[in-house]
Structure formats: C-alpha cells, structure tokens
C-alpha cells in the first residue's frame, strides 16, 4: 500500500495470495505425503504465474527460482508423483516450504524497497539436486494411458507442445493450418502470439486467415492455453502459410512449428501430418491442465471462467462505512425530527418506514463488505505447528474449526500475532516434552491443538485449546512472587493465578526459547486483543490442558449499546458487557470500612460504582432506590454501575473522540468514544474495564 505504485502493489498482493494458496496445498499434501495430480497442476500454475510476473517486474532472482521449481513440477506432472521416491518426499516438502519462505522474504523486501537477495545459487542447487535425484530414479510409472499424447511428446521432459489437432477445432474454410509452440518459460505467450498475428497481417488480409485462441490480444489468460496447446493459425492459401512460417522462423522464442492441412472426410496423407492420434481429442494433458481447457476449446466460449472478485482498497471501504453511518443517523434525524411532532403524516410515515428498511439493509451490506474469513490466518498456524513439531520433536496436530467465520478485515489483520503467540505457547509449554509422558498420562501420543472460531452475532470467539500439561498453579504463583507481580501474603484464586500469565514480563519457562520468546508473548496477546476491543481469558486444568479464549467484537464500527442517563449526560454501554440490570433498595447495599458500597447478586458480592461520583457530574440521582444498577462484566472485572435510568437499547456507530480530547487520557477513565444519537446529540461510549480501574483508583 505504502509504495504508491499500483503495478507493484498488485504484484505484491498477487504473489502473496499465490504463496498462501501454495502453502495450503503443500500443508495438505504433506499429510498424505503425496501431491495429487490436481495439486501438482496447481503448484505448476502458481510457480508459472510467479515466474511470469516476477520477470515482468524484473525481479530476476525470483523468476529464476520460480522457474526451477516450475521445472521440477513439470517433471512431477509428466511422470506423476510416483517419480519421487518415498525417501525423497520429505526433502521435496521441505524444499517447497523453504521456497515459500524465500518468496515471502523477498516480497517483503520488495515491499520495503530493499535490495533483493542476489545469492540464490545454493538455493538453486538444492532444487537442481532434487531434480537430478528425481530424474535419476527409475520411473515407476505404469504404461501411459493410451489416450495420452503421442509417444514423441512424453519421451523428453523439455518440450510440451500438446497434441496439436486435439485442442483446436479444424475449419474447412481455412484448410492450411500452422501449429506453433513457444520456448518453454519464455513468458507472455499471448503477447508473442499476437505479435506474430500482427506480422502476418502485413502480407495477408484479415479475412484470409484465422487464429486460435482468438483473443490473444486482449486476454493475457490465453498464455496458459498456448503453453498447454500451442498456438494455431489457419490460412486460405498455402502461400500465406509459407509466409507465416518465414515470420515465425525470424521471430525469437518459437520452439517449433508444424504445418498441417485440414483433412477432408477422405484423409490425405501429408508429409508433416501429425500421427494418427491426431483425431483423438487431447486426453490426459489438456484435461488435466489447471485452466479449464474445455472452455477454451469451444469457439465462442473462449474466456475461461474467472472468479468474479475484485480487490478494493480498505480505505475506500472505510469511507463507505463512514458515509453509511452518517446516512443511518441522518435518516433517523429526519424521520424523528421534532418538527414532525403531533402531525398526522400517513404517507410520510410509510415512506419513512421504507427508508429505514433500506438504510438498515445498506448498513448491513456495507458491513459485510469488510468481512473476510479467518481461514488465511488459521492456515498460517498450520505451518507454525508443523515447523515447531519438527524443531521440538514433539508430534502434534492442529485442528481447525470454523475457519469460514467472517470478521472485519482490520481484525483479521491484527489477530494473527496473538493467535500465533498462543499456539507457540501451547506447543512450547503446553504439549508434553516426550511422547512417553503423554502415554503415561493416558493421552494420545500425538498432541492436539484445536483452533476454533465462532460467531455469536455480536462477537467472534476464538479458542485455542491444547491437551497438554495444563497450568501448574503453584509453579505460576511461585514465579509470580519471584517476579514481584504477586504478593506472598495474599491467597490467590485459580483464576487470579492464571491471570498472572498475562501480566507483562511473566514467563514460566526458565529458558528463553526460539519460539516463545522472552516472556513478552502473553502480555502482547492481551494488549493486541484489547486494542481490538476484545479480551482474553484463560482456563486450565492441571494435566488436561489449557484453553485460551479470545473474544473480539465482530466489527468495531458498529455495536449494540445500552443508553443510560446520568443527570444531563447520556452514556452508551456495550450490551456485551451487561449481565443484568436491577433496582435495589437502600437496605440491600452493604457498606465496607471505607464507605465503599457492595451489592450481593446471585450469590456473589460486587462493588458499586456510581457514575455520577466517578465523573463528578453536577446532576444525577443520589438515592439508590431511584436509580438503576447495571451489573457489568469485562475481562476479569465484574461490578455494578449506578446510573439514573436506562434509555433503551440502540445500535450505534462508534466514533473516536477527537485526538485533542484523548490527549487528556480520558480513555483511562473509561471514556472510550462517542456516538451520535438519533436526535443529533452525542452520547459517550464507556469502556467497562477501564472505568472500573479508574473507579478503584479514585
């Protein structure tokens, strides 16, 4: 985004997307220790695209590496996965992971406009040695299926022009055909083909010849087709074809050309005619291609179906969301205008209702635009677990649940790190060091981490559950006391002890490991999640494992709030934090030694915070029986807030307070934002957790 260069941005975006896709395929395949033919084709296609676009952007090192991997997969594609012996497969997977990391690293450098790594020789030799190994292996392939391309094609690995006449429909009006294939990996095949066509037009009228694919000029996607099947030109006269052959000879990157005459019902043998298999529709190769070659084979339906997706910059969506938010408010300002009070406006009311319905819909749609599935983030975790399993030599598997849960894009972007920390933590501290230990505990020798996401309508709950050792309360407490976080004289509850884990500078592992870092992890998790407006909680059973629950509001832009009045001020409290509301009499309030008020509800005691006193408001109810208590819970805080009255539940558009106001640290007092009410006035959004911290500090 920051580079300000559209083509470069596009390149980075595309390459990263492809790498993610690739990583998914490789991880999936590693489980089965084999690539399906589909995945091989897909990897081949991905590498091909990366090669092409990197070459276009003049990142030659990237293009070279991609090219070699493409070569490797070309061989695998031709000879199927059997060509890689079982012994070599781990090396193949490792190589792919390494190359994914390499590409990622390089793309990051591109993004940061740093110079690329020029030294790729050792990397290339790795790939080359693997290729050599594969080729050295006796091919354990069964006899090629009869429908496959002629023997001449599969004999050598290099050229890959497909059975020419299989992919192209002949046309008796243009009987003199010419098939061309381009050098492997020359790139921009569609453009090259189009240049040929232009050259031919110099001496041959448009009506005198046709070519296929017909849309090489406009559709760069035809490159795939040309790589697969070659490029075909048909002429009305043999002279023109001869001319075209001349052009083809003089232009670079043409690997081979082949003349062929249209065969009328009675076949006429020509010296260059393709083998007898010509009439058989191209089997294995064309059909197995990543691109749906079938579609391109039918004239008139030349465009391969494209995903109907566009990428839009997030800032535009933000803008849209902001405008829609305004519209929603303005709509209610208009329809609830005080000027309309007491008027009988039947038609107006009807239209207003219609308008409300539409604006609600508009709001919903604009919200869903920003929603993306968490699967990308989750997929990355698979990789982390894989790497750590290898490094720590602790077998574990990661189970993903609810990857399709959709959350706001900004959340997806910032949730990766917290989840990663927790997964690493589970791997490092949770899962037992040895399989024997697990077996002795009666567990599956292979550890399991479950990463799940679910959507409750207002928030998304992400859980990281491991079946490892669980948290040893005594060890944690001892450590917390050593670190000076806990006091030795106080008796702590299980929950409080767990919360020490989230305290800054706490790490139970005596050694700093490569993965879990320096005990900053959990702290970072907590802070990262809180920045998103969410909270983290831990639960654990000794010997059974640990569960980390991350709750994050689905979107930060809109939330359900309860509007409450205190004197002249109006506050909005997030509905998610509200457990209950109640009216109590003065007799039910218990006073402690410092005149603090406590209330008992559902068997537990909770402190009362009076909003009026906390915020030193000029007006407001003072008698407990005249106001309302709202039982709130946020993170580890649970308390009752005393307000004058409840005004009602409202979906509100969250607005940040001006930076000027925030510079007075109002956020520390639970003043978190504001929202416009339907009459245009402003309500202040309270943050339940920091409000309590402030109240306790007062």
């Amino acid at each position: 985004m920051g580079s300000g260069n559209d083509i470069l941005d596009m390149y980075i975006y595309e390459t990263n997307t492809l790498l993610e896709q690739l990583e998914g395929i490789v991880l999936e395949a590693e489980k089965e220790s084999a690539f399906s033919q589909d995945s091989v084709n897909e990897i081949f296609r991905i590498m091909h695209t990366i090669k092409g676009s990197s070459a276009m952007m003049e990142f030659d090192t990237l293009a070279t590496v991609a090219h070699r991997i493409e070569d490797l997969f070309f061989i695998i594609r031709e000879k199927t996965m059997d060509v890689v012996s079982q012994g070599d497969r781990p090396a193949l997977f490792d190589l792919l992971f390494k190359s994914i990391d390499y590409f990622r690293g390089e793309v990051e450098k591109v993004e940061a406009s740093q110079p690329l790594d020029k030294d790729i020789d050792s990397f290339l030799s790795n790939i080359n040695s693997l290729i050599a190994k594969i080729q050295g292996n006796p091919v354990q392939e069964e006899a090629p299926p009869p429908s496959k391309a002629p023997a001449a094609d599969s004999a050598e690995a290099g050229p890959r022009h497909a059975d020419p006449s299989g992919a192209f429909a002949s046309d008796k009006n243009y009987p003199y055909e010419l098939y061309l294939t381009f050098d492997e990996g020359c790139g921009m095949e569609s453009l090259r083909a189009f240049m040929l066509v232009t050259a031919v037009r110099d001496f041959c009228a448009e009506s005198e010849f046709t070519f296929q694919p017909a849309d090489v000029e406009t559709n760069p996607g035809t490159s795939e087709f040309i790589i697969e099947n070659g490029f075909c030109m048909r002429f009305k006269s043999p002279e023109h074809r001869e001319g075209a052959i001349g052009v083809a000879k003089s232009s670079g990157a043409i690997q081979s050309y082949q003349s062929h005459d249209y065969e009328p019902p009675a076949p006429v043998e020509e010296e260059h005619a393709p083998p007898a298999a010509a009439g058989v529709p191209a089997g294995g190769q064309a059909a197995g291609a990543g691109q749906p070659a079938d579609a391109s084979r039918h004239p008139g339906n030349q465009h391969a179906p494209k995903e109907s997706l566009i990428s839009v910059s997030l800032s535009k969506l933000d803008q849209l969301a902001a405008v829609v938010g305004e519209i929603v408010i303005t709509e209610s300002m208009v329809t609830a205008s005080p000027d309309l009070k007491g008027l009988e406006l039947e038609n107006f009311t009807k239209s207003a209702r219609e308008l409300r319905k539409l604006t609600d819909e508009l709001q919903d749609v604009s919200m869903t635009l920003r929603m993306v599935p968490v699967s990308n983030v989750f997929q990355k975790m698979t990789r982390i677990v894989r790497d750590m399993t290898k490094k720590l030599n602790r077998p574990a598997k990661l189970t993903l649940l609810g990857e399709n849960t959709e959350v706001d894009k900004t959340i997806v972007d910032s949730i990766g790190d917290p989840i990663m920390h927790m997964i690493r933590n589970s791997m490092d501290h949770g899962i037992e060091e040895s399989q024997e230990e697990r077996i002795a505990a009666g567990k599956d020798p292979v550890g399991e981490i479950v990463l799940s996401a679910r959507d409750t309508g207002s928030e998304v709950i992400i859980e990281i559950i491991d079946d490892g050792r669980g948290v040893n309360d005594d060890a944690v407490l001892a450590k917390a006391i050593r670190q000076g976080i806990a006091s030795p004289d106080v008796e702590y509850s299980h929950r409080e002890i767990l919360n020490f884990l989230l305290a800054p500078g706490f790490s139970t592992n005596t050694e700093v490991t490569e993965f879990s870092g320096r005990g900053v992890g959990m702290d970072v998790v907590k802070r990262g999640v809180e920045e998103l407006g969410g909270n983290v909680s831990l639960s654990s059973t000794l010997g059974k494992g640990m569960t980390t629950t991350i709750r994050i509001p689905l979107t930060m832009a809109i939330m359900d709030g309860m509007e409450v009045a205190v004197g002249d001020s109006i506050f909005t409290i997030p509905i998610n934090n509200i457990q209950a509301t109640m009216k109590v009499g003065p007799g039910e309030v218990i006073h402690d030694s410092t005149r603090g008020e406590i209330i008992k509800c559902q068997g537990n005691f909770y402190p009362i915070v009076r909003a009026r006193d906390l915020y030193q408001l000029q007006s407001g109810v003072t008698e407990i029986e005249e106001g309302v208590l709202i039982w709130l819970e946020a993170g580890d805080h649970s308390y009752c807030l005393f307000v004058d009255e409840l005004l009602g539940q409202q979906q509100v558009v969250v607005k940040q307070l001006p930076a000027y106001v925030n510079s007075f640290n109002v956020k520390n007092y639970g003043i978190n934002g504001c929202t416009l009410r339907s009459d245009g006035s402003i309500s202040i959004i309270l943050d339940v957790a920091s409000l309590y911290t402030a109240a306790r500090g007062v």
């Binding site: 001006p658 000027y660 003043i671 504001c674 202040i684």
Partner: protein
C-alpha cells in the same frame, strides 16, 4: 459557505482601513472574549457556529466545555476565557471552529468583531515581562478600535 461570508466582510473592511496596501500582511478574524479583543489568522478559521448544544465531557480540564457534532465530526470546545484565566461566561455564545494542522478545535467566544488585514510589521511583541498566556503579539487597531491580542493557536494544542 462561510468562506463567502468571510470574503464579503473582507471587501467591506479592507477599503476604509488606513493600512497600506501591498505590505506583507495577513487577514485576522477578531472576536471578543470577556473584555479582550482576540485575533486569529483567518486562514485557520473553518466556520462560525451559534446555538450549539455542547455535550459535557467528564474527566477533562474545566476549560474544555465538551464536544459538539459538526456534520458528523466531533469537535472539542474550549472556553477561551477559562483557558486564559478569565471568568467564564455561562450564557450561550458563539463557537469559532479552527483548523490547526491535524486538530480541529472550537473556541467559545462572546462575539465576532471584524475581519481585518493587518501588516506583519504592525504586530508587536508582548512586553517582555508580561505574564499573559496564549498570546503571541499585540496590535493597535485602526480608528481607535482598541488593541487586538494575537491568539497563539499552537499553544492551544497540548504537546504530547
């Protein structure tokens, strides 16, 4: 919309003013706050609003009266009198919205006086031993209209 009004005023005020033309000068919006005439550079003024409902904001210094909603934007409102240590007025007054770099800020004033082109040379520094805050210079107004104090807007923004 407001800019038009401002320019219209400028046309009226520029001609009768006795100040020399062609001198390096700046336009100032002069407004009343308590007994003072304060000036701000007209370029910084976004808008002048009246009859605004100001939402009280707790836990901020007294001179911040609260925030207002200006077309969906939240603007903090400063009571300039209180900020400068003068008694603040209770009655509803005008809000002058200023755009100071990144920050938009509204200041509560008693009334707008005039718009005036003032040569830079006419603005004099405060007496060296003055304890006046938030003022970066002084200027005598033409036709005996009194003295304008140039409000130092930069100082309104708390530096982090």
């Amino acid at each position: 919309m407001n800019e038009e009004i401002l320019f219209a005023r400028e046309d009226e005020t520029e001609r009768p003013s006795s100040l020399d033309d062609g001198v390096d000068s700046q336009k100032y919006l002069i407004f009343m706050a308590a007994h003072l005439k304060l000036g701000v550079v007209a370029e910084d003024v976004v808008e002048i609003l009246n009859n605004q409902v100001i939402t009280y904001l707790p836990m901020v210094p007294d001179y911040i009266r609260g925030i207002i909603n200006m077309r969906g934007q939240m603007i903090p409102i400063l009571d300039i009198c209180a900020r400068m240590g003068m008694p603040s007025r209770e009655r509803d007054s005008l809000v002058v919205v200023l755009n100071l770099g990144e920050v938009q800020l509204g200041i509560l004033v008693d009334g707008v006086d005039q718009m005036l082109d003032i040569p830079k040379a006419n603005i004099h520094p405060l007496p060296a031993n003055s304890t006046q805050v938030l003022v970066s210079g002084m200027c005598s107004l033409p036709e005996g209209a009194g003295t304008m104090m140039v409000l130092d807007c930069e100082q309104l923004i708390p530096n982090e």
